[in-house]
Assembly symmetry: D2
Homo-oligomer: 140 residues x 4
């Protein structure tokens, strides 16, 4: 059975993250997802710069955010990033964004990345390194 | 037949919008949608602050972005915002984001907003003003 | 007598620019200065990308912002960018940031840029193109 | 002799922080200063929200940034925030921003905040709580 690949990181909220309602402006959640994605990448050998060094860029082609609750000043944002197995030549990650210690999910997000080669051509078959990565991590 | 409610606005790309690939960082598209949404709101009497003055806040509960092509330095971003009729107590807007004069869609986005009253209670029935607004604009 | 080189551009304020006090978050003024700088550059043949194509990058080495008044939702930000003549190998620009039609200066800013060559070596003498540019514009 | 009041915090650099040169966009340093300021505030009982609860807001009226070197992808940004004693009714903080473990200062910054009361009137004499805070911390 495949193991669930997941990491958790934390980001404090700063004053500039807030909107006039005193809650975190929704547009900042994109940054929380990026933070989670990079934390996951460093932890599991799937970071954008290493992939780039191998000859591929991995642009985001789709992102979805569902907001469930608010994040407030003083909250520590906890971002749980999970790899979503897929047979396609894509990297799909799911994010749970929540205030640490509050037990309430603030948002659920998902990003989809594709592989482009140096000439920016879309790869319909996942690069060998990614196939091996999935094998190695039991994430098919 | 309902008329399509739509507005177009333009935003220049600045250096700080770019990522290391020299294209607009995907996270900035959230701002383009906000710019489009506010431009639409001012043009069609549906701006957040006027709605707030009537007693409602309209947080975004869902946003989706599909990236199709890149935006580059020197591009003028054109944001076409269209009202998506819905019987629910929601404001759904769709965005086409493109480089002006290039004829290529860079991204398609969609946001869903709900109505909360002053006590932050979700409204299951759209406020009267919004029902009237839809009538007035032929946007059911 | 040297002519004052100056341009004015306008940027609407969006909801995401505001802080919990309901005014524009001070950190966003950096973007207003960038917007003004790029507008000035395009108008007066001094934009970063053209300079880069000639072999130079022009990083900002110093920026100062003095806040005098607030900018609020609904304001159109007017950014007046003025070239500050200097004998040094530097580009110094000054910014007046104000709410259009309100007659109150919200902030005064200044940025200093230096010239680096492709090997990122600081130029102590201004590149020839910039000397000519200053001659041509009467801006010594 | 007054003790130097200072805190250090760390922030990872994310892809979205970078500009097309592959280095951290200068505009993001404002966020680093904010991060340092809030970290200092929480550590030394001088955070904006507690001050606000006592009846004062503390807007930034002046900020200066001097860039000395670049920050790159993979760097952990270290922000050292130090209180600058002043007899005036102001909070002056200085920031040293550097890549952790590299021994090179990337930027030096300074912010000046003033005290406004609930009616947004500038205080020419520092509020009593701040005078006591300075006494308590030996920071005159």
């Amino acid at each position: 059975m495949p193991v669930e690949l997941s990491t958790t990181c934390e980001v404090p909220i700063t004053f500039g993250d807030l909107d006039p309602m005193g809650i975190v402006w929704h547009g900042n959640y994109v940054k929380f997802m990026e933070r989670g994605r990079e934390h996951f990448g460093r932890a599991h050998e799937l970071d954008a710069m290493s992939i780039y060094a191998m000859g591929w860029s991995t642009p985001i082609v789709r992102s979805v955010l569902e907001h469930k609750a608010m994040l407030e000043y003083g909250d520590i944002v906890e971002i749980i990033t999970t790899f979503v197995p897929s047979p396609a030549a894509k990297v799909v990650l799911r994010y749970r964004i929540q205030a640490k210690g509050k037990g309430i999910v603030a948002a659920i997000g998902e990003t989809t990345q594709v592989f482009l080669d140096r000439e920016r051509r879309l790869q319909l078959i996942a690069p060998a390194f990614f196939q091996e990565w999935k094998q190695r991590h039991g994430a098919h």
